[in-house]
């Protein structure tokens, strides 16, 4: 079959005259390849060098696209090596397939070999790999497999004169609304559509014509339209009659004021596309074109009206005829690359957020950690948020808070909510309530809080306040809401994440005391409450103190928190973990807090005593060891005086106990030191709460007379602190009884 080849309109040269290294290397690769023949060289002085050659690719006998066994190609290497070498197919009639670069009309087809930016390709560029990639392009194109099934459809246009940021259109027939800010960046226009509510200033003098086309099969990348005539031709494939549409709007504008006629025309086009002719899945491209004519001059060029230059008078022409192609060629258009506004949907895609988009968070505390966790999740398009905090944003907050300087003197939640909603273009994403959840008394605010709480799925506490976490764990308003608490240790090197399970077996306050117990047993966490950082005063009042935690720590833990929230809120189990940042090697390690399998709650004398199988197992082992004698020790735990709750978690066994088969005298040796250690490690959160002792096998676990006397003795002493006396008696098989005396 005769093949007609295009001649390059540049002078031939010799191999010796090639000066561009990449061109020379490529030539050497061609010479070594068994699949390349007949090499010619061309040069355009000081700009580029071109190598022209015949190449064989791996081709099947039957081909979807007409790629020949030998194709003549040329590669254009640039002197400055700042642009990727262009690969052109010189056979006339080379198929108009996918993955071509847009070139001027009548230029040879330019193969798009790489998606990766040239700056990155350069690092690993080898001439042979480049040659193989070209051959691969031909092979795959022959099979029509270059465009992968999972790859996005090809756009109709690739080359643009400028940019336009557009809101996401839900339906193809949604028209652009709002206003536009136009600026110029490096000589290229940059237009930005904004919704009315974000209108700050309007320098737009644009009239928007929106058009929707019929679906087309993707694959052909068109040349950039430069005139209204080009654009008209481009839109014919989508069955859009641009000329008629323009005439329509120009005629309708007749009655409008002269200011309207001074506007420039912006043409917004929605072009639906499909992968194959018979595909039912349709996606859309959106393109925007800006005319350099005002409606007034357009009307004149379309022959709809005439303008008298003397007085700028517009005179309408009766029965105007359709404008000729020549006239349309005088109307230049500027193609704008459409960039979709960042919104919740795009945020989710870019962050690979696949679940939790509509979980309603009732969030308390938007300080340093809280604000950064919230903004991380906002950028992920994750959740819907109610933000509660009554703090003002102060200058010292700038060190670690997500807000910027212009928020100083304003309520943190108001500013954060505005910032988040604006960022992802969604006014319903977050809602601020300026309130202190512990102290709020205003009826309307309380009503608002209660109403929102009912609609919330998760209560997220980032207040770093035990008062808040204990309140939400017990307050009836928060019943049946899963609670999650996030906070840092005092010097900001550890993060604690506590989250209730979906069945509320593990309540937040129980998780909190288990985390204290974990500190006692895990040597890696012994310094959890140790603070080497002196606090700093940011003002003159005695309460105006802030911590000296580095922002990078907050940032690390905000990232972990956000990631954990995304995963953990979708899990049904409770979460209790401690993340530690090792500042010596910049790693973080995670400890899972041990929780009891069985949680026992005993109610007595208006007190609620809570303990678990971990405690029972520990004291039972001790009992077994000492049989047939009795044994015992002190109980370690935590009082919540406000809610009359006692958590018993651990024990200390003195070394000098006097233990007999029918009696027991608890000793004191080692108690003081160990108790002091526990208080230090847990920052006094765990302390002495009572006594326990065992009864031998085959004995009742009811308190004996001696036991009751002991309880009275204990009560006398504890009541000084206003605390109840607690006595636990342990029998065989973990059977036990708990006595409380006030």
């Amino acid at each position: 079959m005769e093949v007609e080849l295009l001649e390059l309109p540049v002078p031939k040269t010799s191999i010796e005259s090639l000066t561009i290294n990449k061109a020379i290397d490529f030539y050497n690769s061609l010479m070594k390849s068994p699949y390349c023949k007949s090499i010619n060289y061309y040069a355009v002085e000081d700009i580029c060098e071109i190598i022209c050659f015949d190449i064989e690719a791996e081709l099947g006998q039957y081909r979807v696209n007409d790629i020949r066994k030998i194709e003549r190609l040329c590669v254009q290497f640039w002197k400055d090596d700042d642009i990727i070498p262009f690969v052109y197919a010189l056979r006339k009639g080379f198929p108009k397939v996918k993955h071509r670069n847009s070139v001027f009309n009548n230029w040879p087809e330019c193969l798009c070999i790489y998606e990766t930016p040239y700056e990155e390709l350069k690092v690993t560029w080898t001439p042979n790999a480049f040659l193989e990639d070209i051959r691969n392009w031909l092979s795959k194109t022959a099979k029509d497999k270059l465009h992968q099934e999972d790859q996005q459809l090809e756009p109709f246009l690739l080359d643009f004169d400028g940019y336009v940021v557009l809101p996401r259109l839900i339906n193809n027939d949604d028209y652009l609304q709002g206003f536009i800010i136009n600026t110029t960046i490096d000589g290229k226009p940059f237009y930005y559509f904004r919704r009315e509510e974000y209108k700050i200033e309007s320098n737009s003098e644009l009239f928007v014509l929106s058009l929707v086309g019929q679906p087309q099969t993707h694959g052909i990348i068109n040349n950039k339209p430069r005139t209204l005539s080009d654009l008209n031709d481009f839109l014919v494939n989508a069955q859009i009659n641009l000329v008629d549409s323009c005439i329509g709007i120009l005629k309708n504008i007749k009655e409008k004021n002269s200011k309207e006629l001074e506007k420039f025309l912006l043409i917004n086009v929605i072009l639906p596309k499909k992968r194959y002719e018979n595909s039912s899945d349709i996606t859309t491209d959106q393109y925007v074109f800006h005319t350099n004519d005002t409606l007034k001059t357009l009307g004149e060029k379309f022959g709809i009206w005439e303008i008298f230059k003397e007085n700028n008078y517009v005179a309408y022409i009766l029965n105007p005829s359709t404008p000729e192609k020549k006239q349309l060629e005088t109307i230049s258009v500027c193609s704008l690359k459409p960039l979709i506004e960042f919104d919740k949907y795009l945020a989710q895609i870019l962050n690979n957020t696949t679940s939790g988009q509509d979980i309603n968070f009732f969030t308390i505390g938007l300080g340093a950690l809280g604000s950064q966790v919230f903004m991380n999740l906002c950028r992920s398009g994750f959740g819907r948020w109610t933000l509660i905090d009554d703090d003002l944003f102060m200058p010292h907050n700038l060190a670690r808070h997500a807000l910027k300087k212009d928020a100083i003197g304003k309520y943190k939640v108001n500013e954060l909510s505005n910032q988040a909603n604006y960022l992802i273009n969604d006014n319903t994403f977050s809602y601020p309530i300026v309130a202190n959840i512990l102290r709020e008394k205003r009826v309307d605010t309380l009503e608002k809080i209660n109403k929102i709480l009912q609609l919330s799925d998760i209560v997220l506490d980032m207040s770093a306040s035990i008062g808040v976490s204990r309140m939400i764990a017990n307050d009836k308003r928060f019943e049946n809401k899963r609670k999650i608490s996030l906070f840092l240790n005092p010097n900001g090197t550890q993060l604690v994440i506590l989250g209730e399970d979906y069945e509320f077996k593990y309540k937040l306050d129980y998780l909190e005391v288990c985390y204290y117990r974990e500190l006692l047993t895990n040597s890696n966490l012994i310094d959890h409450f140790k603070s080497d950082l002196n606090e700093v005063r940011y003002s003159t009042s005695c309460r105006d103190i802030s911590s000296r935690i580095p922002q990078e720590n907050i940032s690390i833990f905000a990232a972990i928190s956000a990631s954990a929230l995304k995963k953990d809120v979708c899990r049904k189990e409770a979460v209790a973990s401690i993340w530690k940042f090792d500042e010596t090697n910049y790693t973080t390690c995670n400890t899972t807090v041990r929780l009891g399998e069985e949680i026992i709650i005993v109610k007595n004398n208006n007190w609620e005593i809570i303990y678990d199988d971990i405690l029972l197992e520990k004291i039972s082992i001790q009992r077994e060891k000492k049989l047939p004698n009795e044994t015992g020790g002190i109980l370690i735990g935590s009082f919540d005086m406000e809610r009359k709750k006692l958590f018993i978690l651990d024990t200390i066994i003195p070394k000098d106990n006097l233990e007999f088969p029918a009696s027991f005298f608890r000793g004191i040796d080692g108690l003081k030191d160990e108790l002091s250690r526990i208080k230090k490690i847990t920052a006094n959160m765990l302390t002495y709460v009572g006594e326990w002792h065992s009864h031998p096998n085959n004995c009742s676990i009811k308190p004996s007379e001696a036991d009751l006397e002991l309880l009275s003795w204990l009560s006398n002493n504890m009541s000084v602190e206003g605390l109840p006396a607690i006595m636990l008696i342990l029998g065989e098989n973990q059977k036990h009884t708990i006595k409380i005396k006030i």
Binding site: P34, E58, G60
Partner: protein, 369 residues
Amino acid sequence: MNKHQLKFYPLGNADTSLILLKNGKKILFDYANMKTDAKDDKRIDLPTELNKDVKNDYDVVIFSHADEDHVNGFSDYFFLEHNEDFQKGSRKKIKDLWVPAAIILQPDKDIKHDDGKLLKKEAKYRLKNKKGVKIFSKPDKLKDWLESENIKYDDVKHLLVNAGENVPGWSKENDGIEFFVHSPFSEHIDDRDIERNTACIIMQAIFDNDVNTKVVFGADGVWDVWNDIVDITKYYKKEEKLEWDIFHISHHTSYKALNSEKGKTKTKPTEQIEWLFEKQGKKQGLLVSPSDVIPNSYDDIQPPHKQAANYYEAVANKIEGEYKVTMEFPSKDKPDVMVINIEDESGATLEKASTSFGFVTNRPAPKAG
């Protein structure tokens, strides 16, 4: 493997083709290891190459005839059932051996090559055992031989395959391939003195891919054999049995496979052979010449002949296909195995892989000092 594969090896003027089927079955058409220790010998080491694909047994090994360029090294590589001396080591077993009847009937004195003689013994042994062999064509002389060996014809007739029929036991449905036998004809053996080339196995294989790729294995068929094949095929109106997407050219691009005359610059084929190549070749088909590099001169006595090559090039151009020579692919300097993938939609696809690292890592490195 998700597609069938066909491989041709650069062995000089010698034939070996390997068919690897999707179902794992392996069929070898001739075996001729021609590699020598000579430094400039660019022929491939055949056992090394085959062993990359075949670990244990061959389901079928076909010997088109017993000439050196089709059997050389047979007794070094295969496990021979008839002689314990050839059963040691990692020899490859042959489940089913296919040979033309001529191999059995040829007098030993006419078989010049030791491997040919051993192949004859192996085929006879298997035929006597009535298993593991197929004999192509049923000339009367074979019946005489069976009688002389006290073998009842009826006991072995299922092992005898005639030209003009499919090889039994193979179908596109079961194995993804079927074989139609064109040669040898019985009359070639009965009507005249047994002549090697006229009695060789020539067949068409059809794969079960979407486009039913057809391969003609031409062995050493000379022009008058091809004339007969074309005439008979047309007589029986089975023209489709001579259609081809891949043609394994006969006799290493010898003009004798096209006509009795070499021609000045291009061999003119017989009318029948012209029809075979120019009408029966599918668009963008592939002609494979298992041969040495095509000479620049028109005067060479031994194949390949430049005149014949010119004809095949012209055929390739006519059908927009390719004519590839095993010792020239991908280049004369570094000939390598020719791998043809039998793809569902694209049909026969000759691999043209990058040569950068492949050539280096595919071979032992030269001795380092």
